[in-house]
């Protein structure tokens, strides 16, 4: 028995059956169209939210580790972390001299200060003290000028690199390079502008910052601060290895006894993701379930139509059986019909949701319908077609030929 010959015949039958009852097929398909449209749009929206999140934390750097007193999203209370020993330049030097798997690292500290240029004032600008390695660690590109050099940073030169927001505020239509600004009451010469960074989680602007040599920072604003040591791993795929190395060096530097827990945190972008997942995971699942519900309703509609279709065609089933159709042949006939309806609905659903996703992308939130969502839409409509068609098809295949031939 040639399977493909039967399948081809069954497709022809399905086509005839669907086109013979156009209104009924249209209404049955509508349920699946709505279901697939909502499922694919939901997934597209989730994708958009994910992308927005990824973008908002990209400044953190996927390959950068942050050694700090605090642990991001840590479980202990604030005082627990605050009372830890400070992370010092000596520890930074020790780590810097011993770490093998780090590409580059820099210490950072920061504080909020008022900036002035002539009579222009910017309140509460974040001042970062760091070394020349900062640029490489975070992979920053310069909009104008340059970052400070090793000798400038070690020599505590009064130079600064500014963010785009500050450039806009102070130097709207002029060249900022070489100009002198005041950080607090101290003068600094602008030597570079960092290109636009955006913001972290949409909350903190990374462009409203001014970066100065860390030695200068200590001299002017006080040295008794805990640092953040920011380490770029040599290989992002070996981030965990770098993390372990950093941990053991830091434990040695801070004299943590064997068996005691770390008295510092090694933070990374991952922490944001984990927190994000735990916050949004349930919402995504619920959203997916609710949209799937519409698909289930749609497929119940199709199952219903298929039962009617089987009942109506009892005589036809009898005829087909009399001239040699096997159970499986009849089964496939109705399964293919229901799958064809669902697949058609799925394709129409995708054709509707795709342009809608473009509209969402243009006006609501940057997203794109990923290919896997289209594949999912097709797969899901296939699956629901089989599920909706199975019992009607099974009941058709089990029909007694004598009884069904007698059916009028």
């Amino acid at each position: 028995m040639n399977f493909w010959i039967e399948i081809k015949e069954n497709f022809a039958i399905a086509y005839k059956a669907i086109t013979a009852n156009k209104m009924r097929s249209f209404l049955a398909t509508l349920g699946i169209v709505i279901g697939v449209t909502s499922v694919t749009l939901m997934q597209t929206a989730i994708e958009g939210i994910n992308r927005a999140f990824e973008k908002s934390i990209s400044a953190v750097g996927a390959d950068v580790l942050y050694v700090q007193k605090f642990e991001w999203f840590g479980k202990e209370d604030f005082d627990f972390y605050r009372n830890r020993k400070d992370i010092t330049m000596a520890q930074y030097d020790y780590l810097s001299n011993n770490a093998q798997t780090a590409a580059v690292m820099c210490p950072t500290t920061g504080t909020g200060k008022t900036l002035k240029y002539k009579d222009l004032v910017l309140e509460n600008v974040f001042v970062v003290g760091t070394t020349y390695e900062y640029q490489e660690t975070f992979g920053l590109n310069m909009e104008e000028g340059r970052f400070f050099t090793a000798s400038e940073s070690e020599g505590a030169y009064p130079v600064c690199v500014i963010g785009m927001d500050i450039k806009k505020a102070f130097f709207e239509n002029q060249d900022p390079l070489g100009k002198t600004i005041k950080i607090g009451t101290y003068s600094f010469r602008v030597i570079g502008v960092i290109e636009k960074q955006g913001s972290l989680l949409g909350l903190f602007s990374l462009d409203n910052r001014v970066i100065i040599p860390i030695e200068r920072f200590f001299n002017l604003f006080g040295g008794k601060r805990s640092l953040s040591i920011n380490i770029k791993a040599a290989d992002i795929n070996n981030l965990d290895e770098t993390k372990e190395e950093v941990r053991s060096i830091m434990r040695k530097a801070r004299k943590v006894d064997y068996g005691e827990r770390d008295d510092f945190g090694i933070n990374q972008q991952e922490a944001f993701k984990t927190t994000y997942e735990s916050l949004t995971g349930l919402i995504k699942i619920i959203g997916t379930l609710i949209t799937s519900l519409s698909l289930i309703v749609g497929s119940v509609g199709i199952a219903n139509i298929m039962f009617v279709s089987v009942k109506e065609r009892t005589k036809e089933i009898g005829i087909r059986k009399a001239i040699g159709a096997k159970r499986s042949t009849i089964m496939y006939q109705f399964l293919i019909e229901s799958v064809a309806i669902c697949l058609l609905g799925g394709l129409i659903g995708i054709m509707i949701s795709f342009p809608i996703s473009l509209i969402i992308d243009a006006y609501v939130l940057p997203t794109a319908m990923p290919l896997w969502v289209i594949v999912l839409g097709i797969f899901v409509s296939l699956l629901f077609g089989v599920m909706a068609g199975f019992f009607p098809a099974f009941s058709a295949s089990k029909m007694d030929p004598v009884e069904s031939l007698r059916y009028e």
Partner: protein, 251 residues
């Protein structure tokens, strides 16, 4: 197995059809009804047999069993040497496809398919390729005189033409038997005569034909008449035509 035979058909292996002690029991609630009460029958290749009986006699049940649409409650049915009574649904479907061509009183064509596709359908189920199928189906329609009605749908054909399509469909797979259930029941007398004429020609060409009817004059077209009453064979004799035929053969 042979010891169970009731004697008259002991050389069963040589028959095209051998029915031995076949019963069919219908249970409706608490009531049991034997539609067939142990029928034994042998039919040879190229015979033309009419099964006659009033309604409720069990002739339809017998036809369903002979057509492999149903299986007996007990007893054996050998078709072409194969014991059909022990087959499952799919094996029966295959036997119906290859060995039996049905002609029904109500034609039973697929309403949405044209004549050609209706005739082609048994070949689809036997897994034949499209080009071969079309060739065979066209030939079968030509054989029943419908060469210019191939693309017509059943509702565009007269009753007689529909029955010819059904006969072409029954013939197309070269079955061992053509089983016709009241083939003229829905036709006027003249068209009915034409259909009986066609069946006669098919018999002369070597086909084995079994018709089920309650009409005496239709039964007279067959060479042998088997009368059924109350689930049993009442009579089994040669018709007038059958006797003429036998005389011609012996001379």
């Amino acid at each position: 197995m042979m010891s169970n035979s009731n004697g008259s058909n002991s050389e069963s292996a040589t028959h095209l059809i051998t029915v031995r002690n076949v019963t069919k029991l219908y249970v409706m609630g608490s009531e049991e009804l034997y539609a067939l009460k142990g029928i034994s029958l042998g039919i040879e290749k190229n015979e033309y047999v009419a099964i006659m009986g009033p309604s409720g006699s069990g002739k339809s049940t017998l036809m369903n069993i002979l057509g492999c649409l149903d299986t007996p409650t007990s007893g054996d049915y050998f078709l072409n040497g194969k014991n059909v009574s022990e087959m499952d649904d799919d094996e029966l479907a295959e036997i119906r496809n290859r060995e039996i061509g049905f002609v029904f009183q109500t034609f039973n064509l697929l309403p949405r398919s044209n004549a050609l596709h209706n005739v082609e359908l048994p070949l689809v189920y036997s897994g034949m390729h499209k080009s071969d199928r079309l060739e065979r189906a066209e030939q079968a329609l030509i054989d029943v005189g419908l060469q210019d009605r191939m693309k017509h749908k059943p509702n565009e054909l007269s009753g007689g033409q529909r029955q010819r399509v059904a006969i072409a469909r029954a013939l197309v797979n070269n079955p061992s038997i053509i089983l016709a259930d009241e083939p003229t029941g829905n036709l006027d007398t003249r068209t009915g005569q034409e259909i009986m004429q066609l069946l006669e020609e098919l018999n002369l060409q070597g086909n084995t034909i079994i018709i089920v009817t309650h009409e005496e004059d239709i039964a007279q077209h067959a060479r042998r008449i088997v009368k059924i009453r109350d689930g049993d064979i009442e009579d089994d004799y040669l018709s007038k035509r059958g006797k003429e035929f036998q005389n011609a053969k012996t001379q």
